[in-house]
Amino acid sequence: MNAKTSTSMTDTAGTAARAAQDAMRPPVDIFEDAEGITLEADMPGVSKERLHVQVDANTLLIEGEVQIDLPETAEAVYADVRSTRWRRSFTLSNELEADKIDASLRDGVLRLRIPKHPQQRPRRIEVRTTG
């Protein structure tokens, strides 16, 4: 059963659709400061070569394929992780500079820094008191 499943998962026909459907949603932290937004995502098992970050119009897609060394003949005894793919997408608002996103991956944690347009950064507004 195992060998067969493994083969069908690597077949090309319908795999993309299937993969998108079966993908796991990586947990994320998102926070904002004056200069921009930072997103951190847990994507364990994903190497730099198998990570895909894409911006299309105002949609940000993060995607990665999990690879671990498991002997070919191994039998699964227990599995919390039942997919080989992480995938999640977000909408970017206009004040963010999508073409200046900085991405880094370390120990399975993806970190994206999305800067705001300089003119969109918050300005402190002085309140004048009238005497």
């Binding site: 059963m1 195992n2 060998a3 067969k4 499943t5 493994s6 083969t7 069908s8 998962m9 690597t10 079966d22 947990p27 994320v28 932290d29 998102i30 926070f31 904002e32 400061d33 930072t38 951190e40 847990d42 994507m43 364990p44 098992g45 994903v46 190497s47 999990v66 690879q67 671990i68 060394d69 498991l70 002997p71 070919e72 003949t73 191994a74 039998e75 699964a76 005894v77 227990y78 599995a79 919390d80 992780v81 039942r82 997919s83 080989t84 370390r106 120990d107 399975g108 944690v109």
Partner: protein, 147 residues
């Protein structure tokens, strides 16, 4: 390769087992008792276990750690993996989502009885901890010739 794990999804008995665990955890009313060390559904970090006649491989999906934040021990066939992941969430930043696990964690796994606690190797790569435990020779299948 990884299909070994994804293949589990289709197994009806496995799904029933999972359903039972969920019931067990949410109501505590399920007539069949849960194993003492069985984790609550959604425990962090998630674990996968694969076995061959020669060894047992345990994978812990715990990204963003360093080796000294992990505490791995084995007592006979009980493997325990603990540690902590501290995520600093500064007050001055505006937070929208904080879904990532922060703080201590511990998971215990009961391995087959024939594992050798003296022969354990652990590696950490791409946020996955891989603990490989060798099994004793006597447990491995032997070919028996008929005379």
């Amino acid at each position: 390769m990884f299909g070994t794990f994804t293949g589990l999804q289709g197994n009806l008995f496995d799904q029933l087992d999972r359903l039972q665990r969920e019931l067990d955890d949410s109501f505590g009313l399920w007539p069949q008792a849960a194993e003492l060390r069985s984790p609550a559904v959604g425990s962090w970090p998630p674990i996968n276990i694969g076995a061959t006649p020669q060894r047992v491989d345990v994978y812990l999906f715990a990204p963003g750690l360093t080796a000294d934040e992990l505490d791995i021990s084995i007592q006979q066939n009980l493997l325990t993996i603990g540690g902590q992941r501290r995520i600093e969430r500064a007050e001055e930043q505006r937070w929208y989502r904080s879904e990532r696990h922060s703080g201590e964690f511990r998971r215990a796994v009961t391995l087959p009885e024939d594992v050798d606690p003296e022969r354990v190797e652990a590696t950490y790569r791409d946020g996955v901890l891989h603990v490989s435990v060798q099994r004793r020779e006597s447990a491995q299948p032997r070919r028996i010739t008929v005379s």
